[in-house]
């Protein structure tokens, strides 16, 4: 799980956007539309990043409805210390922005 998190959040092109998505989902579960509005990004962009996060077992959707809410997987919850470590390393300058 640890190397997946580093790759998906730190070492790939969409990493910064996926960090923002995880931060938003950490506050509360949201659907793709709410994430698009909150992060001021295209719905299709959000869906792409959510698909990557789902393929890597970082998030899951509550059902197949288009308004489905995204949650962290059990795997991520049980590795939350690792998630925090990665987010802090990657997101260290976010407060300055």
């Amino acid at each position: 799980m640890e190397d997946v998190l580093w790759y998906v959040l730190a070492s790939s092109r969409g990493g910064p956007t996926r960090v923002r998505i995880l931060r938003a989902l950490e506050e509360r579960p949201r659907n793709a539309n709410q994430l698009a509005t909150e992060l001021e990004l295209d719905y299709t962009t959000i869906r792409h990043h959510l698909d990557v996060l789902m393929e890597n077992n970082v998030v899951r959707r509550t059902d197949d409805d288009y308004a489905a809410v995204y949650l962290f997987t059990d795997q991520v919850r049980s590795n939350w210390d690792t998630v925090e470590t990665v987010l802090e390393a990657v997101d260290s300058d976010s407060e300055a922005r």
Binding site: W6, Y7, A10, S11, S12, R13, G15, H48, A89
Partner: protein, 100 residues
């Protein structure tokens, strides 16, 4: 013969392009957050870039090497093609993950 020779040097050239693309993503990431995971990948890409630069030099400019390749048996030629060609396949998978 010439087909194998062409595949070999084109594979080395494609590797250079793929490694520059990967390196660009990782340089941007490393400059943003300085994570050691990204730095490791950057070192990996830099070394493979040097390696493929050497291959390109041999295939395009080194007459001694070109002559040796042309006169080598098919088994050796196929083996040389696989050295760069399999790396192209491997890098393509990495690009797919990294560019998403």
């Amino acid at each position: 013969m010439s087909t194998l020779f062409t595949i070999a040097w084109v594979a080395a050239a494609v590797n250079v392009v793929l490694l520059v693309a990967l390196g660009w993503v990782w340089v941007q990431g490393y400059r943003r957050h300085g994570a050691s995971h990204t730095l490791g990948l950057l070192v990996f890409a830099s070394l493979l870039l040097v390696q493929n630069g050497v291959w390109l030099y041999f295939y395009r400019l080194h007459e001694g090497y070109i002559g040796w390749f042309v006169n080598a048996g098919t088994d050796v030629q196929v083996g040389m093609v696989l050295l760069c060609g399999l790396e192209t396949v491997a890098l393509a998978f990495l690009v797919r993950i990294t560019w998403s």
